[in-house]
């Protein structure tokens, strides 16, 4: 659907040269909801603009909907763009036009009969749930409503692809979810391929089936969401996931308050991660009955990604050292990832026990 190969984008700002994208290879397949995450300045927005050629790359190839965009003449490019919808962080609606006229705008140059255009606009606004706002001006709408109008407008020419540039970053969490629900619906009902640029892993977690992580203009890691979430390879990816699941904060809290762990000398603090149907309960009770190892659960989290549960637990395992070894070996044999974490402040452990 979208394929970028060896994309480089450089900007010359006076004496400095900024590389906004370096050597990017990316493939988005039909029906994907593809997330691109990165901190600000990572080059995400530049990359999404390459996909409809709002930004011309310094080198590389772009194929969208089977067309090599860089080889198109201006007029052909314009009609190619009609088949690539785009929405923005700040909605970019025309303030001088009503909701109805904003959605009508992209249809103005088409040869569709007037009555058909009218029906189309009404259908689109129905689809995004704003049928009652036809005559309102954008200034009278809330952020979420504005984004809905923008989505309706972006879909007017029946594109196969929708590019979302930080589309939920200006919205509150609740509105963000409702917009994401709408996007998920569109993906399922219309088979719309969606590319989402965001700095919030939460958003990716919510609807994406694939994700690419960007840093300094390069993609450091990409893959399907379940494997990225369950086995992030790059520190940056882990960072993002931890902020989305609050994992990092929790570990930090536990580490800075060893008392929370209440650990004995032989106890093992570890993180257990698993993917799939295995539930945390079964794992914990399993090792208790089999090896007499008790697990004190300090933190647990389960994400349902694309209908696949991805869980992680932070536990303190206590028991005899040989039983502990056996239990750990058993866990590993179950396709469960076990990482031993450094015990919080071993030196102060004694102090932690008093309390």
């Amino acid at each position: 659907m979208i394929s970028l190969s060896r994309i480089n984008v450089t900007f010359n700002t006076g004496s400095r040269t900024v590389v906004a994208a370096r050597d990017i290879d990316l493939r988005v397949d039909e029906g994907d909801v593809f997330g691109i995450v990165g901190y600000s300045g990572a080059g995400k927005s530049t990359l999404v603009r390459v996909m409809n050629l709002l930004q011309r790359p310094s080198s590389g190839d772009i194929v969208v909907n089977g067309q090599k965009l860089l080889e198109l003449k201006p007029k052909e490019l314009r009609s190619a763009r009609k088949k690539i919808g785009m929405i923005f962080q700040h909605f970019n609606l025309m303030k001088s036009r009503t909701v109805y006229d904003n959605v009508l705008y992209p249809l103005k140059s088409s040869r569709m009969p007037k009555a058909d255009k009218d029906r189309k606009v009404r259908e689109l606004l129905e689809l995004v749930g704003l049928s009652d706002k036809l005559a309102s001006y954008p200034s009278q709408l809330s952020g979420g409503q504005k984004q809905r109008v923008a989505i309706a407008r972006a879909l007017a020419n029946e594109p196969r692809i929708l590019l979302c540039d930080e589309a939920t970053s200006a919205l509150d969490p609740k509105t963000t979810l409702s917009i994401l629900d709408l996007l998920r619906d569109l993906n399922r009902k219309l088979g719309l391929t969606i590319v989402i640029i965001t700095h919030e892993m939460q958003v990716v977690k919510e609807i994406c089936n694939k994700v690419a992580v960007m840093e300094e203009g390069a993609i450091v890691e990409q893959g399907d969401i379940v494997s990225i979430f369950s086995e992030p390879k790059q520190p940056l990816t882990r960072d993002f996931i931890h902020t989305a699941t609050h994992f990092g904060q929790t570990v930090e809290k536990i580490m800075s308050h060893p008392s929370l762990a209440r650990m004995g000398d032989d106890d093992v603090l570890c993180k257990i991660s698993y993917v799939g149907s295995r539930t945390s309960e079964a794992i914990v009770s399993d090792i208790a009955t089999r090896f007499g190892v008790s697990a004190n659960i300090l933190f647990g989290n389960v994400e349902i990604l694309q209908q696949t549960p991805v869980g992680s637990l932070i536990v303190v395992l206590s028991g005899g050292s040989s039983e502990l070894e056996k239990a750990l070996a058993y866990l590993r044999s179950l396709d469960v990832t076990v990482d031993r974490l450094d015990s919080p402040g071993k030196a102060t452990l004694g102090g932690a026990h008093i309390r």
Partner: protein
């Protein structure tokens, strides 16, 4: 009433028809100049915005040449500009004296000012909106007419009313080439012949004209804001 006017505005009452004539001349010059300036000024303003760096038809050469021309004509004092463009005036109107002849320097004097105002008004249009319309596959012509001129309308109206008010000021100077109008009336009759009441009435009429323009401008500015 008539007694009162005859007593306090004797010269005005004596030259009533001339005052009406001058008012008409001023209105004529303002109207005709506005008409031509609107066309050239908006076109030039749009071209400046479009060819500017990052514009929809970015062209460094075109922009810098146009910008220099605009700056040049904006810097020449109007009274000198009138004399400077006399050859052009002759070429276009066949004469260098009178109401129609005055329209040429007025247009040349006001267009650069207006174009700059238009440019500023259009730069107020959110670049995000322009980007969105480009993403929707709009071409430059469509973006100019359906986006810049529509989204920038409030700014354009405001710029226009400021410009017309400025223009009223310039028409009074056109008296220097025998254009007639309230300005030359105030000088030639009021000042040169010490008929102070004529100057007074001419001032009132000019102010009235300015207020009316301001009012119309404000009205449409309000109407175009959503």
């Amino acid at each position: 009433m008539n007694d009162f006017l005859n007593r306090y505005l004797p010269n005005v009452m004596e030259n009533k028809s001339e005052i009406w004539e001058s008012t008409y001349e001023t209105l004529y010059m303002v109207f005709m100049t506005s008409l031509f300036s609107a066309i050239f000024g908006i076109a030039l303003g749009v071209i400046l915005v479009a060819t500017d760096k990052g514009g929809i038809l970015a062209n460094r050469w075109a922009y810098s040449i146009l910008e220099k021309i605009v700056n040049f004509f904006r810097s020449v004092p109007f009274i000198i500009l009138i004399a400077l463009v006399v050859p052009v005036t002759r070429l276009i109107t066949g004469t260098s004296i009178g109401m129609n002849a005055a329209i040429v320097p007025l247009v040349i004097g006001i267009v650069p000012f207006y174009a700059r105002q238009i440019q500023n008004a259009l730069l107020e249009v959110d670049p995000g909106i322009i980007e969105a319309t480009q993403a929707m596959g709009s071409g430059p012509v469509e973006i100019i007419f359906r986006v810049y001129l529509k989204e920038g309308l409030t700014g354009i109206i405001r710029a226009s009313s400021v410009t017309v008010i400025n223009l009223i000021g310039l028409t009074t100077m056109a008296g220097a080439i025998g254009s007639g109008g309230l300005g030359s009336l105030a000088i030639n009759k009021g000042y040169n012949r010490f008929q102070l009441d004529i100057t007074f009435v001419a001032t009132i009429l000019i102010l009235l004209l300015v207020f009316v323009c301001q009012f119309i401008g404000d009205y449409f500015t309000r109407k175009s804001t959503h």
